[in-house]
């Protein structure tokens, strides 16, 4: 029989191995751009103006000139191809409706009679506020989940621990997803927008969902198999739910992969973020959340600190 609990430190190490590059990427990103990931205009404020059917791929300098004439000096046009038509995405600081209206005739002169695919312009205040409120919402949701788990597991001892361990596993998944966003931001220029925020919130929900299924088995087995060692029960519960975990993971994988492959470009980053997060959610509920219960039960946390602390004392002595 597979011994997952016995090898728990290896699994914790693997988690660390996955999370660390993300943290490093966030540090690099912070150092370079002053934020842990590339933030979209939802958060920083600014304009995305996408035009299709342009008569020719415009020269960057020409477009910048037009914007500069109207007082916008940071326009960055980026040629694209949409449905085999030359298109252009122009990013700049926030554009007021008046400035936009003033720029349009000049732009039409340069690009011909284009069609506007999208125009998004936002001030910087909104995004900061939304992310702040989202943080509150997550904190509130975490508290509610902690409370719910403590209540739902009240028939077994230390039910509070189950909530805490579920939240730690959730934090693990958040770190994986946020780290991945930072890495993709550095490598592929992916931006963190409000859709990313939605993906992150979903991952949080599913992470807890997955953990509870494993915990539920532990709850049931603890009540049915009295007298067994705690770590044996936990290990057994993980194995019993393994088939289900893998099968559920597979079905979610199917739907998300289909969305990633065949869905529109607009949601591809969203779907990939979900894929990473939900994969991490399944991993963390099996290999982090449940083993953490054992670590806590065995009192290994003080042990761990004592060992580190003791060693340090030896060195200084």
């Amino acid at each position: 029989m597979a011994d997952i609990i016995g090898k728990r430190n290896w699994y914790f190490a693997l988690s660390l191995l996955v999370i660390l590059p993300g943290l490093v990427a966030m540090a690099i990103h912070w150092n370079r751009f002053g934020a842990p990931f590339t933030l979209a205009i939802d958060f920083t404020g600014g304009t995305n103006w996408e035009l299709a059917n342009v008569s020719q791929a415009p020269s960057t300098a020409d477009v910048r000139d037009i914007f500069a004439r109207h007082g916008i000096r940071d326009a960055v046009p980026q040629p694209e191809t949409i449905n085999n038509q030359p298109s252009v995405l122009i990013r700049s600081s926030e554009l007021s409706p008046e400035t936009k209206r003033a720029i349009e005739p000049d732009l039409k002169q340069l690009l011909g009679n284009y069609t506007e695919i999208r125009f998004e312009s936002a001030g910087p205040a909104i995004g900061a506020e939304v992310s702040q409120r989202a943080t509150y919402a997550v904190a509130l949701a975490s508290l509610a989940i902690l409370l719910y788990i403590t209540l739902a597991f009240r028939r077994i001892p230390q039910s509070f621990r189950y909530g805490v361990c579920a939240l730690i596993a959730m934090l693990h998944d958040v770190l994986v997803v946020v780290g991945a966003a930072s890495i993709f931001g550095l490598l592929l220029g992916w931006e963190v927008d409000s859709l990313f925020l939605t993906a992150l919130l979903t991952v949080i929900g599913f992470s807890v969902h997955d953990t509870i299924v494993v915990f539920d088995r532990i709850r049931e087995n603890l009540l049915r198999m009295r007298g067994l060692r705690f770590d044996t029960v936990v290990n057994h519960s993980i194995l019993q739910t393994l088939d289900r975990s893998i099968n559920t993971q597979l079905t979610v994988l199917f739907t998300l992969t289909a969305l990633a492959l065949f869905g529109g470009l607009t949601i591809r980053q969203f779907v990939v973020t979900l894929l990473i997060g939900i994969l991490s959610g399944t991993y963390s509920s099996i290999f982090n959340a449940a083993p953490l219960l054992v670590v806590w039960e065995n009192g290994e946390i003080p042990n761990f600190f004592r060992r580190v602390f003791g060693r340090r004392r030896q060195v200084t002595a």
Partner: protein, 509 residues
């Protein structure tokens, strides 16, 4: 037990038929007292359209009273309705913002111009010099003497407002933000940020709230002009002013921008007058709309504009539907191959699930909401909720397999499977429901409509899946037992070597 199974079956069939009827019904249904349109409402990201977030343009320290925000919302609603947009959505968000969503609008810039202006109309004493059209001027703004509403900087519709918390100074301050959209004047080129060209502060003789109505008329040369009538003190204020200023210039100023600057030929005491500038018919119409529905009680500025062309959205819808169908198909195949007969029944339950959920999207839930607006994240939420629905069935079927392997008889194993799996289904779905509830609240209160759309479809999906994955699948399975379809355990996903992996407790000691 047996009878109940058949009762459930009939209820499920009726529900499925009703849902299917709603799903494929023509846009309009008539069913007794219910008589309304029923169709899929697509969000702006799918059908294209304009979304503008307006914020009270007052210092952050100044509170905006809910009343004045409400009045601003009503006025903007009226202006938008006058534009003739189908299904506009105007919502207050938080304490100082309004979100305006106009689906499928052809000319977003024009629209913003019409509904976004503060609409503060002033008749200004220009003394002996005519003011250039399009010029931005400083005025003394509304005071008790020159306005009719009684409340300075507030609207006549809010007499109940307990001391209008909007500082009067806020409305008097030159509003350069949205208000500058009032580019009604066809002459002067529109400048990026209108600069105040003169330092002189002109006296406001009368404000627009003294008008009772405005409409487009035509002068002798058939050029459009705007006729207006006055109400309350307006007739007297305007009469007194024009009597004492004959021969002088009067400037008509909208949102601090001069529209026209005629000479006062004679005293106007009749209570009606005309604004003529060099308007196109459209401009005259837009201006009349602004005048008719009054000035906003608080100046608003645009903090966010999003315009999605229709092609982008349609492309995404098509692709997402194809992707969703492929994903759903693969999941169904997986369930069928992996769990065999129960898998097939789960697939049937999943079909009921899709029918019911789609019917809710179209028809809404009575007393709660009329329909669910489908957005891209909403579609993603739907697809994810399919995963949740399947997960419940996987939990149950895995338990049934375990019970069968432990040697239980088929009917007992099925009942035990459902009973044992229930706590984990309940608790895991409860946590997902809690999350989607909080997200929905967060999304609706703070203008993150994408998040709200996602949370709503996910939450509804989880709720419906609880019903279909547990109740519907159980009814189908009980029926299969009752009809004695097969006794071969292979059909229930258990291979012949039943003792291969026993979960019996003794095995791990």
């Amino acid at each position: 037990m047996r009878e109940r199974t058949y009762v459930f079956l009939i209820i499920i069939l009726l529900l499925a038929i009703f849902a299917a009827w709603l799903d494929f019904a023509s846009p309009h249904i008539k069913l007794g007292p219910i008589d309304r349109d029923i169709r899929v409402h697509q969000g702006l990201d799918l059908q294209g359209g304009l979304r503008v977030l307006l914020e009270a343009d007052v210092p952050p320290t100044t509170d905006v009273s809910p009343e004045s925000l409400g009045v601003a919302k009503d006025i903007i609603e009226k202006r938008v309705n006058a534009l003739g947009v189908v299904e506009p959505v105007i919502q207050t968000q938080g304490t100082r913002r309004l979100a305006v969503e106009l689906p499928g609008i052809a000319n977003p810039d024009e629209a913003i111009k019409t509904f976004g202006g503060t609409g503060l109309l002033e008749f200004v004493d220009a003394e002996s010099t005519p003011l250039r059209e399009g010029e931005v001027v400083k005025t003394t703004g509304p005071t008790v003497d020159n306005s009719c509403a009684g409340l300075i900087g507030s609207n006549a519709a809010t007499p109940a407002a307990p001391t209008a918390t909007v500082a009067p100074t806020a409305t008097i301050a030159p509003t350069v933000a949205v208000s500058s959209t009032a580019t009604i004047s066809p002459t002067a080129p529109i400048t990026a940020t209108p600069e105040i060209t003169s330092t002189q502060v002109y006296t406001t003789a009368m404000t627009g709230d003294c008008l009772s109505g405005a409409s487009v008329q035509f002068d002798q040369t058939n050029r459009p002009q705007i006729g207006f009538t006055m109400q309350g003190n307006g007739t007297k204020i305007f009469g007194d002013f024009t009597s004492s200023h004959v021969g002088k210039y009067l400037a008509i100023v909208l949102d601090k921008k001069v529209i026209s600057s005629p000479v006062i030929q004679s005293a106007i005491t009749t209570g009606s007058g005309v604004i003529n500038g060099r308007f196109t018919l459209k401009e005259a119409n837009d201006l009349a709309i602004q005048l008719k529905y009054g000035a906003l009680p608080i100046p608003l500025k645009i903090v966010e504009t999003t315009n999605i062309g229709p092609t982008l959205g349609q492309d995404s819808v098509r692709k997402s539907i194809i992707a969703g169908a492929i994903g759903l198909g693969v999941v169904m195949l997986f369930m069928l191959l992996n769990y065999r007969l129960p898998g097939l029944l789960a697939d049937l339950a999943l079909s009921v699930y899709a029918l019911v959920l789609f019917a809710i999207f179209k028809g809404g839930i009575p007393l709660a909401f009329d329909f669910v607006t489908l957005t891209l994240p909403g579609i993603a939420g739907f697809v994810l909720s399919v995963g949740v629905a399947v997960d419940a069935n996987i939990l149950i079927f895995e338990r049934i397999k375990e019970e069968l392997r432990a040697g239980r008889s088929l009917p007992l194993a099925i009942e035990a499977g459902f009973n044992r799996a229930w706590p984990s289904i309940r608790d895991s779905n409860a946590s997902t429901l809690i999350t989607s509830l909080i997200l929905f609240w967060f999304g609706t209160s703070f203008g993150a409509s994408l998040v709200a759309g996602f949370a709503l479809t996910l939450g509804l999906g989880v709720a419906v899946s609880l019903f279909t994955a547990v109740l519907v699948t159980r009814t189908f399975l009980r029926l299969a037992i009752d009809l004695n379809i097969t006794k071969n355990l292979w059909w229930y996903g258990v291979d012949r070597d039943v003792t291969r992996r026993s979960p019996v407790v003794g095995g791990i000691q």
